[in-house]
């Protein structure tokens, strides 16, 4: 292998590029990014960066003076991949001839309405964050649509800036999907603890306002006045450019448990990819930071070895910072049959809960208790490793 392209130059792409060099690849690496800014870290965009407490320099994803020995093609979009995985066409009319490809094009926020008045934002890029920050002036009324992690974090940050925040969530219990009803209810009660209004079990019927947003109309007939609206209603993988490559794209770029796609010499990683999860027995797209960061090396091992080296990953892990608390989640909460609080108490917003299936721990969720959380996380990893792959392979 002499020439590898990495399409997408954010967390997953950078991690893959680092892994290429670390694993001894000495051919050419070209990183294609449709963004023009140097790579930056997204989690602070709903937290400290949105609050104005960290600078662009502080959230840079490249280390000081770090050199990946890569050629960067910034501000250009990959538009097509040929079915042999050897030619990547770019929006500037040029094409890259490659013999290895890492797909790391991430995801973008869903926009339920094609046309939206000014003052309605999604949050994915640094420019999104700058635009939203400008609206978060003390006394402004912000409506957050969707009480998932991004929505909850923006609500928390905006509240801290003196903004009057209302959160609207269609599900009866926010975060009941990722955390289960009981724990989801308690974590979402953080909003109420801080005087942020949460309207759950009600959908959004439409946006009010022609040029400028004026309010949000709810499905129960109410209207909530708004100077700004943040839509946090999920993301979709950036995979349309791969149509015609022959790669299965349902739910993301489908990969085996090590990032390999159906085309030899093409791997995919990060928010755009759905890896086969042997524990779940299904493809599962993880849209969290740690997977994008640590799976780059796994996918690159598959790429450089032609699929003969299979590096086992760890159980998924993510965190979310809201109202001064850090929520940590490891493993798969979906499919668990029970969740028991093993330390602290959910009422005190200070707990560690273990999720089990068939008596076996499958996930751990904690607010505080970081030391025990790490012990559980390691235990989940040991368990994952101890399940023989042969018993699980498709």
């Amino acid at each position: 292998m002499k020439a590898v392209a990495v399409v997408g130059g954010s967390l997953a792409g950078l991690s893959a590029a680092r892994a290429l060099r670390k694993q001894g690849f000495d051919g050419s690496v070209t990183i294609v990014s449709d963004e023009t800014r140097p790579p930056y870290d997204r989690p602070p965009l709903s937290k400290s960066f949105l609050a104005g407490a960290t600078t662009e320099g502080e959230i840079a994803l490249l280390g000081d003076g770090e050199d990946l020995g890569a050629a960067w093609r910034t501000g250009v979009t990959a538009t097509r991949l040929d079915p042999r995985g050897r030619r990547v066409e770019l929006s500037d009319g040029t094409a890259l001839a490659v013999d290895g490809l890492v797909i790391a094009t991430g995801a973008r926020p869903r926009r339920p309405w094609p046309r939206m008045p000014a003052g309605v934002d999604v949050l994915r890029t640094l420019d999104d964050a700058l635009g939203l920050r400008a609206r978060l002036v003390p006394g402004a009324r912000l409506v957050v649509v969707g009480a998932g992690f991004i929505g909850a974090e923006v609500a928390s940050t905006a509240h801290g800036l003196g903004v009057e925040v209302t959160v609207i969530e269609a599900a009866p219990t926010p975060l009941s999907g990722p955390l289960g009803i009981d724990i989801g209810a308690v974590v979402s009660a953080l909003h109420a603890d801080h005087g942020v209004r949460l309207l759950s079990g009600v959908g959004v019927a439409g946006l009010v306002g022609a040029a400028q947003i004026e309010g949000v109309e709810l499905t129960d007939g109410r209207t909530v006045a708004a100077d700004a609206v943040l839509l946090g209603v999920g993301v979709q993988p950036n995979v349309e450019w791969l149509t015609g490559s022959g790669l299965p794209l349902t739910g993301g770029v489908q990969c085996d448990s090590y990032g390999a796609t159906g085309i030899p010499n093409v791997v995919a990683v990060g928010d755009c990819a759905t890896w086969y999860d042997r524990e779940l027995g299904a493809y599962h797209r993880i849209e969290h930071w740690t997977a994008a960061r640590e799976r780059g090396a796994i996918a690159v091992s598959s790429l450089l070895s032609g699929g003969t080296v299979r590096v086992e990953g760890r159980p998924p892990y993510f965190w979310s910072d809201q109202y001064g608390c850090t929520l940590q989640v490891a493993g798969h909460t979906s499919g668990a049959e029970s969740a028991t609080v093993e330390e602290g108490s959910v009422q005190d917003r200070d707990f560690l809960a273990v999720y089990r299936r068939g008596g076996e721990p499958v996930a751990v969720v904690a607010l505080g208790h970081s030391r025990s959380f790490m012990r559980w996380r390691k235990q989940l990893a040991r368990r994952a490793v101890s399940v023989p792959p042969s018993a699980l392979s498709r």
């Binding site: 991690s15 870290d41 989690p43 960290t54 490249l62 280390g63 000081d64 930071w289 960061r293 030391r371």
Partner: protein, 116 residues
């Protein structure tokens, strides 16, 4: 020099947080080395003694930056600055620590000078 504890009290693969100012994390690697670094990650306020120890590296429990226990160097962001390493000696089965003299790289918002 500070006497920490008997070596026998710190099993291989384990770490201990010392409530000094600033706090120090002391690790006993699976290979039997005993190494000490600043406990607070240089990115945010996380305790590296709670981190994921593998070989001679500890991974931050919050956002996965890895610190080399021998050099204090960090592998990749979000943490960007190294932690200090502290000298460890074992005498008569006890662990002793000599704190490095240079300034620590505390994360923004964490005042290492203000002790508990």
């Amino acid at each position: 020099m500070i006497r920490v504890c008997p070596l026998a009290d710190l099993a291989r693969g384990e770490a201990k947080r010392l409530d000094l100012d600033p706090a120090v994390a002391i690790f006993h690697t699976e290979d039997g080395e005993v190494l000490a670094i600043d406990d607070t990650c240089t990115h945010q306020d996380a305790s590296l003694a709670d981190g994921w120890l593998e070989g001679c590296e500890v991974e931050c429990p919050l956002h996965s930056s890895k610190f080399d226990l021998r050099t204090g160097q960090v592998d990749a962001p979000p943490a960007k600055r190294p932690v200090r390493t502290h000298q460890v000696t074992i005498t008569d089965g006890d662990i002793y620590l000599t704190i490095a003299s240079e300034q620590p790289n505390a994360p923004a918002g964490v005042d290492v000078e203000a002790g508990p």
